[in-house]
């Protein structure tokens, strides 16, 4: 097996074996702790420009299939695993994982001490990384190459992942509502979850203007997940503020939550190593109940947790927090129909505990319609 190297910004190098496509790739090194769902992770646009280290040691056992894709392609910049599977065993599998990665040109590395890498990232923080295989480069040359790449902080990536034109996903059963979903890197599971609730979803480009959005006469607007630094998203934030003024029911998740937070005037900041996994406990502060949720975020909103807060759009509150580290996981306005969560109620991969949030969005739209 050919050697491959995982080279971190701070000079630490892990040696393993070439896997998937050979060559080199760069991105932000992050670790993902889900024991299932590698296919969903690979195809989640939020992982754009990230090199994902899987902490689960065996990856690829169940191959890949068409139905579990969260978008049309694999987005991760590179894939780091301990033991890739040399066999695919699942009745739904249509292709081997490695073959799929190669066909999409994704550079990977295997046989590395993924736990050591994870501990390093946990202690030092997410950082730039490169994977090199089949290349004649010295260690120093590799580190220099990694340091030439762009860091995640300040990255504006939404243009790469958003749909160029509006795509309509019809409601399943009787259509009750129409919404605009601003595609900042949306996963397939989200429109699916809404469609199941009788919502027709217009997935619109990230740079849709307020007028373009209102042109479809939406009952609500959804702000999707996506990659990059939320502080770079000034244009979308402006559109969101207009929607808030117009009191259009608004629901944001992940990147969309950060954008709502910024629209309300809060800062966002980069977490040491982020939340990426499907076992994160989040407490709904209003019910006191805990939900186990899927997370994928490197940034978070800074907002007062203990009391209501005032914004130019009226009163608001933090509705959810992460029980592991107290990070703000949900926001809502009390005087206007807008709320958001930092995590993924659409799951895929992950538990379905938070699916009720889609119902809450539907309720919000019902109230607005009835009002």
């Amino acid at each position: 097996m050919a050697s491959a190297y995982l080279v971190l910004d701070d000079g630490r190098i892990f040696e393993g074996f070439s896997w998937a496509a050979t060559g080199k790739t760069f991105g932000e090194a992050v670790f993902q702790t889900g024991m299932t769902g590698y296919q969903e992770t690979l195809t989640d646009p939020s992982y754009h420009k990230q090199v994902v280290v899987m902490t689960a040691p065996h990856i690829g056992n169940t191959g890949v299939n068409e139905t579990d894709n969260e978008s049309a392609k694999i987005w991760v910049a590179g894939f780091v695993v301990r033991n890739p599977s040399s066999v695919t065993s699942n009745w739904r599998a249509q292709n081997d994982l490695e073959a799929e990665l190669i066909s999409q040109g994704i550079v990977g590395i295997q046989g590395v001490d993924t736990r050591a890498i994870t501990r390093h990232l946990r202690d030092r923080g997410a950082m730039r990384v490169g994977i090199f295989s089949g290349l004649e480069l010295t260690r120093e040359e590799m580190v220099v190459e990694v340091r030439k790449t762009e860091a995640m902080t300040g990255s504006y990536l939404v243009r790469d992942v958003s749909t160029p034109t509006t795509v309509v996903i019809p409601a399943i059963g009787t259509k009750k509502f129409t919404i605009a979903a601003i595609d900042l890197g949306i996963k397939g599971a989200t429109p699916r979850a809404l469609a199941e609730r009788g919502v027709e979803v217009h997935v619109m480009p990230f740079n849709s203007s307020y007028a373009e959005i209102m042109a479809i006469n939406p009952d609500g607007v959804f702000l999707s997940n996506g990659p990059g630094d939320p502080s770079t998203m000034t244009d979308v934030i402006d559109v969101v503020r207009e929607l808030l003024v117009a009191e259009v029911p608004l629901f944001g998740i992940c990147f969309g939550h950060q954008i709502l937070g910024r629209a309300l005037g809060f800062e966002t900041y980069k977490l040491q190593f982020g939340h990426r996994g499907i076992n994160q406990p989040v407490m709904d502060k209003n019910t006191g109940k805990v939900e186990i949720t899927a997370h994928n975020h490197g940034f978070a909103v800074k907002a007062p947790i203990d009391a209501e807060f005032a914004t130019v759009f009226g009163r608001g509150e933090v509705t959810h927090t992460c029980l592991n580290d107290g990070v703000v996981e949900g926001l809502q306005l009390l005087d206007r129909p807008a709320f958001s969560v930092q995590y993924h109620p659409e799951a895929a991969a992950g538990p379905h505990d938070a699916a009720y949030l889609f119902d809450r969005f539907v309720d919000l739209m019902s109230k607005k319609v009835n009002a």
Binding site: T33, T62, T118, N324, P351
Partner: protein, 1086 residues
């Protein structure tokens, strides 16, 4: 809501003796429960009849009742102690059934006691198959098509619709007792008939066969605020058809996508909510069709289970501990994760390693038992291993079993053999995986093996990779660093590599160390390294970075006892745990090495550090190396974990490791018959005449010298494995032929067998100067019955003061002669007023916990202290040992063994013979304590086997050699008002001695001309309340066997020795005159 302050005292119900399907995992869970409750300031009242448990140590509860776990006794305890609540979800099915009994008797209502954890309705909804089916359907799940039946007629009607093969599952039994798969009517009649009898509600479920489907189990927890988490997913490598307890299992699930896993998760959460398990843990089992993903919900346990213990060890999430906290009012988010300290328990552990559990069987103990694995659990223990890949974990787990047959090997396998392997693997047996590996080694494809076994192709591919690696290793040429690293990372042991390379294990190890290839140790941390771990719970792996922390305090490494097996079980774990507790108190850091997930020793709370590793020389040497790098290591304690660590002592010492306590040379001195014989001779002690033979001729010569009967056995074994009493040359010849392949390196011992001798067991401490005699136990069964299977009483009943003094002197002489530092166990026999030394074991014995409970002296703790240099005098001064004198029993304590007869069937479907012998077969033990022998013996019998009859009919059949000693007890039964039945020979003898009885026909005589029933028919018709049947010599004599198996299958008490017969007279006489008393250990020892 935090702690429910209305709960001031809780009665915890334990699980009783270790039996197949219910082992020391419930000591682990119960011990955690007691600790949690006491830490909350709640008064803990405990009932458990099993003295070998940590939970019954007086310091774990405020009032510890070592009493039979029956609703009647528990009611007495409730009346006396007035607890606010009863916690029954941590003591297995035994505790749950007891709780239902209390509810049905109205005890809970009468005394205003709450059942916490799960209420009776929830238990019913979870365990009653019809109700559960309804729940599954309601939440959108599917159950196997099935029919509940209460009679054989209903069963025969149902099978017409379900078709063969059909699965039979009795309701309310544990470990799948009485269940099985029937392929035709004859099998169905037999399995379902037994099932109806085993089920307390005479209810069995017949269902469509889903044999060969993928099998999964999810461990679920819920709090009273309805927060639900999945602690662990477990996948069975063995597909449906083999009981989970007998399957090789893997955590986490390896072959499900997220979509499929989430379906199981959703179903689990909906089911636990609908069943209404208010707080605590439960597990839910699923079958998944490998061709289309159809999911069938199999069953749930609304309580902490064996799988919960496994899941706790596999994830670091202590289910029992948290279940207890939830039961007293906390919610998951209010409980801290011990390992990370900063995150709460309301999360789902994520693993960055693979866990493999493998079962350990004891078929060699039950020669005529059917070796097929079915839905009735047959394994007696298990080993778990953790690795960073499946193959690493699997290879480690297989060597943890301590069975050479279990370890993968790569001999030449012919095509014919391969084809026959492909054939035999269709039927699951103990070594199916090894058959798979060998067949694939010989070229069988993944598809061929899949067709034969339905083991998921992913696992089969992993086996294939291991074989491919073996081929590479076996190639001539240099053992390169890269090759060695890869092999180690795949889990190959030094010994496996050595065999493949044709060199010695030592050479491989030296080469490996020379190349600086050593394992690193990773932490089990519940979170895949997302957060820092503060609990040093380690496993080895061949990778880059080790996580062993440096330390400054001197450390003592304690080797545990590995998987439970007959002859080495919880008693040894008890001693190891005690050593760890006491050495921590004495200021040392303790480091536990063990691979048994059921135990208290592998709780990360027990020692300062835990290494979940196989107990082999290689694995232990690496732990010692790693810890020596980390800080000062005082040495290794090998004398507390039974034969497993003892067997490693010499190898460790040869590799420069300090052995604490009795030295390996001294151990050898005691175990090597010649050397030990010399010590006895020097000290003027008598042993039964014996000789050592390495050939058949030698054996016969010795036997003639000594005179038959002789006791023959291979040396260096525990539990009397392969031990037999033989009466003639032919039997001796047969034994030698079989025995030589058990332990080829050691000769066969031939001892004179002392007929009708009283057997004595002694546990003592020696520090080089002073002897402390822990206890002198007298066996109730005479010599010839393995001490582990014999009931015994402390204090001894028939031993005179002079004899006791003689025993003490002999014990001291032996301890001094062997040069013991710590514990020694000696077996003596008294025959014709002469004291004989049978054997001495310079280590903790099976009886240490029993003696400690009966006398209140913590022998294992003292032994651990002596092995690090304390003297008995110092320990007396400290108060760990009594200030003067030896151990004194409080009251009369009887230990009784529990035997697994009802678990095994012969291939023809009939029961295995329920007869005691020199080979140990019991899985566990109970203790009865009271002021008198009769009452204590009665308690022990009730705890071990169920109620003894106070009146009715007793059937007596005595072998000729037993007729003399049987007269007195027979007279006793007659005096107690029992109607006596006997077969002809016995009847004539009894009448001759003035005992009235009715003659009945033997089974072999068949039904009489006038339709007179045989004794077996009478037993089957339920007209007999007690069976006394002493076997004729060794071997299955058809009549006795038919009687005993009939009794076992109908759960009628069956006594097979005249000594047991006599004791039963005392017991029943007590039961007729007064109710059983109760008294806590704390009161006894006060």
């Amino acid at each position: 809501m935090p702690l429910d302050t209305t709960i001031k005292s809780v009665l915890v119900i334990g699980s009783g003796p270790i039996v197949i399907g219910q082992a020391c995992e419930f000591d682990y869970s119960g011990t955690q429960a007691c600790r949690v409750l006491r830490a909350e300031g709640i008064r803990v009242i405990l009932i458990n009849s099993n003295p070998a448990t940590i939970m019954t140590d007086p310091e774990f509860a405020d009032a510890t009742y070592v009493e039979p776990i029956t609703p009647e006794i528990i009611e007495q305890i409730i009346a006396h102690e007035k607890p606010d609540a009863v916690l029954a979800t941590l003591g297995g099915q035994t505790a749950l059934n007891a709780a239902i009994g209390l509810y049905e008797r109205g005890t809970l209502k009468k005394y205003g006691v709450r059942l916490i954890g799960a209420d009776v309705e929830a238990i019913h909804r979870g365990e009653n198959r019809e109700l559960f089916r309804g729940i599954v359907e309601k939440v959108g799940g599917e159950s196997a098509r099935s029919k509940i039946c209460h009679t054989m007629e209903e069963i025969m009607e149902a099978v017409v619709h379900l078709n063969y093969p059909v699965v039979v599952r009795p309701s309310f039994t544990m470990g799948g007792l009485g269940s099985g798969i029937a392929f035709n009517e004859a099998e169905l009649r037999q399995i379902a008939g037994a099932g109806l009898r085993h089920s307390p509600t005479s209810e069995v479920l017949l269902e469509e066969s889903i044999i060969g489907w993928k099998e999964y189990e999810l461990e679920v927890m819920r709090d009273h605020k309805d927060n639900v988490v999945i602690v662990c997913s477990i996948e069975n490598l063995d597909p449906m058809g083999v009981h989970t307890g007998d399957s090789i299992t893997v955590a986490p699930a390896m072959t499900l996508t997220d979509v499929e896993y989430q379906k199981l998760r959703d179903l689990s959460m909906n089911i636990i909510r609908e069943v209404g398990v208010e707080t605590g843990g439960c597990n839910i089992q699923f079958a998944v069709n490998p061709d289309n993903g159809r999911i069938i919900v199999i069953e749930m346990n609304p309580r902490v289970s064996r799988s919960s213990a496994l899941a706790s060890k596999a994830t670091g999430f202590p289910i029992a501990k948290i279940a207890t906290k939830l039961a007293i009012g906390y919610t998951l988010d209010e409980i801290q994760n011990d390992i990370t300290k900063v995150t709460p328990a309301s999360f789902e552990p994520t693993l960055d390693y693979v866990v493999v559990k493998v079962p350990r069987f004891a078929f060699e103990k039950f020669a005529d038992a059917d070796p097929r694995l079915t839905t009735t659990m047959k394994s007696v223990g298990e080993a778990m291993a953790i690795g960073r890949s499946f193959s690493e974990a699997l290879m480690k787990s297989l060597r943890s079993l301590e069975r050479k047959e279990a370890i993968f090997s790569w001999p030449v396998v012919t095509q014919t053999e391969m084809l026959s392997l492909l054939q035999s693997m269709k039927i699951p047996t103990e070594y199916r995986l090894q058959q798979v590996q060998k067949a694939m080694w010989a070229g069988a494809s993944v598809e061929q093996v899949y067709e034969a076994t339905k083991i998921d192709r992913w696992y089969l591919r992993q086996i294939e990779i291991i074989n491919e690696q073996a081929l590479v290793i076996s190639q001539p040429g240099e053992l390169s660093k890269e090759l060695l690293r890869t092999a180690k990372a795949q889990g190959f042991s030094d010994s496996q590599i050595a065999i493949l390379r044709g060199v010695s294990e030592d050479e491989v190890r030296r080469a490996r160390h020379h190349l600086d290839i050593r394992p690193v140790y990773k932490t089990v941390d519940t979170c895949a390294a997302e957060f820092e771990a503060f609990t040093p719970y380690y496993y080895s792996s061949y990778e880059e970075e080790t996580e062993v922390r440096t330390r400054t305090t001197p450390a003592v490494i304690i080797l545990g006892s590995g998987p439970n097996r007959i002859g080495q079980g919880i008693e040894f774990d008890y001693s190891c745990v005690h050593a760890s507790f006491t050495l921590r108190e004495a200021g040392y850091e303790t480091i536990m090495v063990n691979c048994n997930p059921e135990t208290v020793s592998t709780d990360y709370d027990t020692s300062n550090r835990l290494y979940f590793e196989p107990l082999t020389l290689e694995d232990v040497l690496e732990v010692v190396h790693a810890e020596t790098q980390a800080g000062p290591v005082l040495g290794v304690i090998t004398q507390l974990g039974g034969q497993t660590p003892l067997g490693l002592a010499a190898g460790l010492k040869a590799n420069g490791v300090t052995i604490l306590g009795t030295s390996p040379d001294a151990i050898n001195l005691a175990e090597e018959r010649g050397a030990f014989g010399n010590i006895l001779a020097e000290q003027g002690l008598k042993a039964p005449q014996f000789g050592m033979a390495s050939s058949q001729l030698e054996a016969t010569t010795i036997a003639h010298e000594i005179g038959y009967p002789v006791l023959v056995r291979p040396s260096f074994v525990l539990g009397g494995r392969g031990m037999e009493i033989v009466y003639d040359d032919a039997a001796l010849g047969g034994f030698i032929t079989r025995a030589t392949d058990i332990t080829p390196d050691h000769p066969v011992l031939v001892d004179r067998f002392l007929d009708n001798a009283v057997e004595i067991d002694v546990d003592a401490l020696f520090d080089g100067h002073e002897l402390f005699l822990g206890g002198v136990m007298e066996h109730i069964e005479e010599a010839g019955i393995h001490s582990g299977d014999s009931a015994c009483v402390l204090p001894s009943m028939t031993v005179t003061d002079e004899q006791r003094a003689e025993i003490r002197i002999a014990t001291e002489k032996i301890a001094r002669g062997v040069d013991v530092r710590g514990l020694i166990n000696i077996q003596f026999a008294i025959a014709d007023d002469t004291l004989y030394v049978l054997e001495a074991n310079p280590r903790a014995s099976r009886t240490v916990p029993f003696v400690s409970k009966a006398t209140g002296v913590p022998l294992a703790k003292a032994a651990a202290r002596i092995s690090v240099g304390s003297t008995i005098a110092e320990l007396r001064a400290e108060g760990l040992l009594p200030t003067s004198g030896d151990g004194v029993a409080q009251g009369v304590s009887v230990k009784e063994a529990v035997l697994p007869w009802n678990r095994f069937r012969r291939t023809d479907g009939r029961g295995v013979d329920a007869v005691l012998g020199p080979e140990m077969r019991s899985t566990g033990e109970v203790m009865g304590i009271s002021p008198t022998f009769g009452e204590s013996y009665a308690k022990s019998q009730i705890a071990a086997f169920g109620p003894l009859p106070k009146s009715g009919t007793v059937f007596i059949s005595l072998a000729d050699k037993d007729k003399g000693t049987g007269i007195e007890p027979a007279m006793g039964f007659s005096d107690l008002g029992f109607h006596i039945l006997a077969t002809e020979g016995t009847a004539i003898y009894l009448r001759k001695h003035g005992i009235e009885c009715t003659t009945v026909r033997k089974n072999s005589e068949g039904t009489g001309a006038m339709g007179e029933k045989t004794i077996v028919d009478i037993i089957n018709s339920g007209e007999i309340n007690l069976v006394i049947n002493t076997p004729v010599g060794r071997g299955t004599r058809a009549d006795g066997w038919a009687i005993r198996t009939a009794a076992v299958q109908r759960s009628i008490p069956c006594i097979t020795t005249t000594a047991g017969f006599s004791a039963a007279v005392d017991a029943i006489s007590f039961l007729q005159s007064s109710p059983l008393s109760i008294k806590s250990l704390q009161e006894w020892l006060a």
